[in-house]
Symmetry: C2
Subunit: 349 residues, 2 copies
C-alpha cells in the first residue's frame, strides 16, 4: 500500500501514461498513439480518460497525489501552457494544464497537475530511480535526433529563469562550423546527434570514401544512425571514424559543462546512447584533455562495464563517496520520462 | 547599530580586510601587502591581528558574526584548506581556516571563519550589493589575466561537487585553437582575457600590421591590455580589431553558459571589464546569433548606458520583472570580493 501519482509522456508519436507508486514501482503503463491531427482537445481527452481510469483503479491501494506531464517543448511553468513545441503542433495556444485539471476535476480533491519539459522529467527519472539514484546534482544529455538536456540540482529540476536551462544542443563547438536550424553555426547537435551521424555518413559517401556505407544507404530504406552503428561494430573503418568524431565533439561539449557546473554525474540517454562503445573512447579522451575539473576528479576506471546495473551501482558509489565526476549511460530508457513525470507531481504537491 | 562580519581578500599581492555591517555598509577597510615570501604563518598572523583589531573596535556597534576569507585557488570546503593556488605558494599544505580560528579563539565565541574561492565571493558580493542586487540566480565572469568565474543560485554560491564550479576560462571555444597552460587548446581565456589581448597585439606587431601598437610596445615599459585599449579608443584600427575579437569569443563563451544555465544575470568584472565599449558590440552580436535562450529573452535596449548605477537599476528591473537575460558590468570593482567574503560568513553562521 503506497500512495501513487501518474506520469504522462506526451510525445509527438506516442502518448504514454503510467501509474507509479511513491516508492518507485511502475504499477501499470498504457501506450496510445498521439493523434495530433485531431487537435489538442482530442489528445487531452484521451489522456484524461486514461488518467481517470488508472487513478480510480489504484485508489484502493493508496492516495492519488497528482499527474505530471512531460512534453517536448518549452513549458511556461506559471501558466501551464506550451510556449514552443516542434512535435506538437496546435498545442502552443492551448491551456494544457488547466484543461487537464478541469476534465479531471482535480483541483477539488487536492491532487496536482504539473507540466514539464520532457528532457527535464527524464533527468528527474534517472536521478530518482536510474543511473543517478541518490546523486543530488546531475544532468542528463539526451542523444537523439537532436540533443536534449535536463539538469537536477539538490534533487530538483533546475529550470533557469524561464524554463530554458539545459539547452546543451545549441552550445557552439565550432565557431565556423556546420550551420544549424537555430541560426547559429557549429552547434553541438550538428556533431553529436543521430542527424549528425547521418550527415557525416552522407558526406563520406559523397566523397567516395565509404563503399560499405554507400551500399547500405542505397539498399536499406531505413538507413540511419543505427545502420551506421551496425557497420561500425562490424569493423567498417569509415563508420567507426564517424562515431569517433561524434565522441570527440560530445567530449568537447561535456568538458565545457563539467568545467562550468562541476556536477556529480552526467547521464547520457536517448537513441544514440547504446552506441556507447563506439563513441565513449574519444569522448573520454577529450574530457581528460579539455576539462581540468574532469581531470582532477575522473574515476580511475573507465566505467565502461558491460553490465549497466553493475556500472550504475559502481558509479553511484564513486560519485557519492569518492567525489568523482561520473559520465555514464542512462538506465531507464524511455521510461525515465514516465518516472520523472510521476515524481514531479509528488515533489510539487 | 547593526551586527557585522569581516571580509578578507587574501590576494597574491594585497591583503585587504574590511568590516561590513549585515545591512551592507563597509565600515572600515585595511589594506596590507601580502608578504608571501615570509610564509603562510606570517601572512595569517598579520591577517588575524587586523581581524582582531577591527572586530574589537566595532564590537560596541553590534555582534561580530564571523570572518570570510576569499582566496585565489581551489578551496576544500570541508577542511578549510587550499587545494591549489597559483598566487599563494606555500599555502597548499597549510590549515588556513583552523589557524585563523585558533588565533582568534573564534570557536569559543560562536563566530565563524569561512574560506572561499575569490571569484565566488566576488559573485556573492555583486549579488548582494552590486549589479545583481536582488537577482537570485546570476554568474560573475572576471576578465583579468585569465578568466575567473562564480555562480550564485538562489542567493547562495554554487560550489558544484567539490568547489570547482565556474571554470569558464577553460571552456573550449576553438577545438584546434591556441594552446593553454591547462594542457588544452582553444580555452576561452586564450581569447578573452588581458593576456589574450596582449598575445593578439604581439601577433599583429609581428605580422607588421600594427604600427601604432609596435611603437607603443617599444616605448612603453608597461605596455599591456590598458595601452592597447587606449589606442583602440583613439581609433587605432588594429587595436580596435583586437577588442572586437575579444568580444566575439567572450560572446561565444557566454552564449554557451546562457544556453546551459538560463540565469537571470551575467555580470562582467575584472580588469578588462572597463573596456566594455570596445568589446560589448561584438559580444552582443555573438550572443544573439549563438544562443537561442538569449535571443528569446534579450532586453530591447542594448543596456550599454554610460551611468553604471542607472544601468544597474534598469537591468535589475528588467531581470526581475520582465524575465530578461541581462549581461552587464560589475558595479563594486575590487570591493565585490570584500563584501562577498563578509557576506559568506553571515550566510553560513
Amino acid at each position: 500500500m503506497a500512495d501513487f501519482s501518474i506520469g504522462v509522456d506526451l510525445g509527438g508519436t506516442n502518448l504514454r501514461i503510467a501509474t507509479v507508486s511513491t516508492d518507485g514501482q511502475l504499477l501499470e503503463k498504457v501506450t496510445l498513439g498521439t493523434k495530433t491531427a485531431l487537435g489538442p482537445n482530442h489528445v487531452i481527452s484521451e489522456m484524461c480518460d486514461a488518467i481517470r481510469q488508472l487513478s480510480e483503479k489504484y485508489q484502493k491501494e493508496g492516495k492519488f497525489l497528482g499527474a505530471g506531464v512531460g512534453i517536448p517543448g518549452i513549458v511556461d511553468l506559471n501558466t501551464g501552457m506550451l510556449r514552443k513545441s516542434a512535435n506538437l503542433s496546435g498545442f502552443e495556444e492551448y491551456p494544457v494544464r488547466t484543461e487537464i485539471e478541469r476534465r479531471l476535476g482535480i483541483q477539488k480533491n487536492g491532487a496536482r497537475v504539473v507540466l514539464e519539459n520532457d528532457a527535464n522529467v527524464a533527468a528527474l527519472g534517472e536521478q530518482w530511480l536510474g543511473a543517478a539514484r541518490g546523486v543530488p546534482n546531475m544532468a542528463v544529455v539526451t542523444l537523439g535526433t537532436g540533443i536534449g538536456g535536463g539538469i537536477v540540482l539538490g534533487g530538483k529540476i533546475w529550470h533557469g529563469m524561464n524554463g530554458m536551462a539545459g539547452e546543451y544542443g545549441h552550445v557552439t563547438l565550432e565557431p565556423e562550423g556546420v550551420p544549424c536550424g537555430c541560426g547559429n553555426r557549429g552547434c553541438a547537435e550538428r556533431y553529436a546527434s543521430a542527424s549528425a551521424i547521418l550527415r557525416m555518413a552522407k558526406e563520406a559517401i559523397a566523397a567516395g570514401e565509404a563503399p560499405a556505407l554507400a551500399k547500405a544507404a542505397s539498399s536499406d530504406p531505413e538507413f540511419g544512425a543505427q545502420s551506421i552503428y551496425n557497420l561500425a561494430m562490424r569493423g567498417d573503418e569509415p563508420s567507426r571514424r564517424i562515431f569517433r568524431t561524434f565522441g570527440r565533439y560530445l567530449g568537447i561539449m561535456l568538458a565545457g559543462i563539467v568545467n562550468v557546473l562541476n556536477l556529480d554525474m552526467y547521464v547520457l540517454g536517448g537513441g544514440v546512447s547504446p552506441a556507447w562503445d563506439a563513441f565513449a573512447p574519444t569522448m573520454f579522451d577529450e574530457l581528460r584533455a579539455r576539462s581540468l575539473v574532469y581531470a582532477a576528479t575522473a574515476p580511475d576506471n573507465a566505467l565502461m562495464a558491460d553490465s549497466r546495473k553493475e556500472a550504475a551501482a559502481l558509479v553511484q558509489k564513486e560519485s557519492i563517496t569518492a567525489r568523482k565526476t561520473i559520465i555514464t549511460r542512462a538506465l531507464l530508457g524511455s521510461d525515465a520520462g514516465l518516472y520523472g513525470a510521476a515524481r514531479v507531481a509528488v515533489l510539487s504537491s
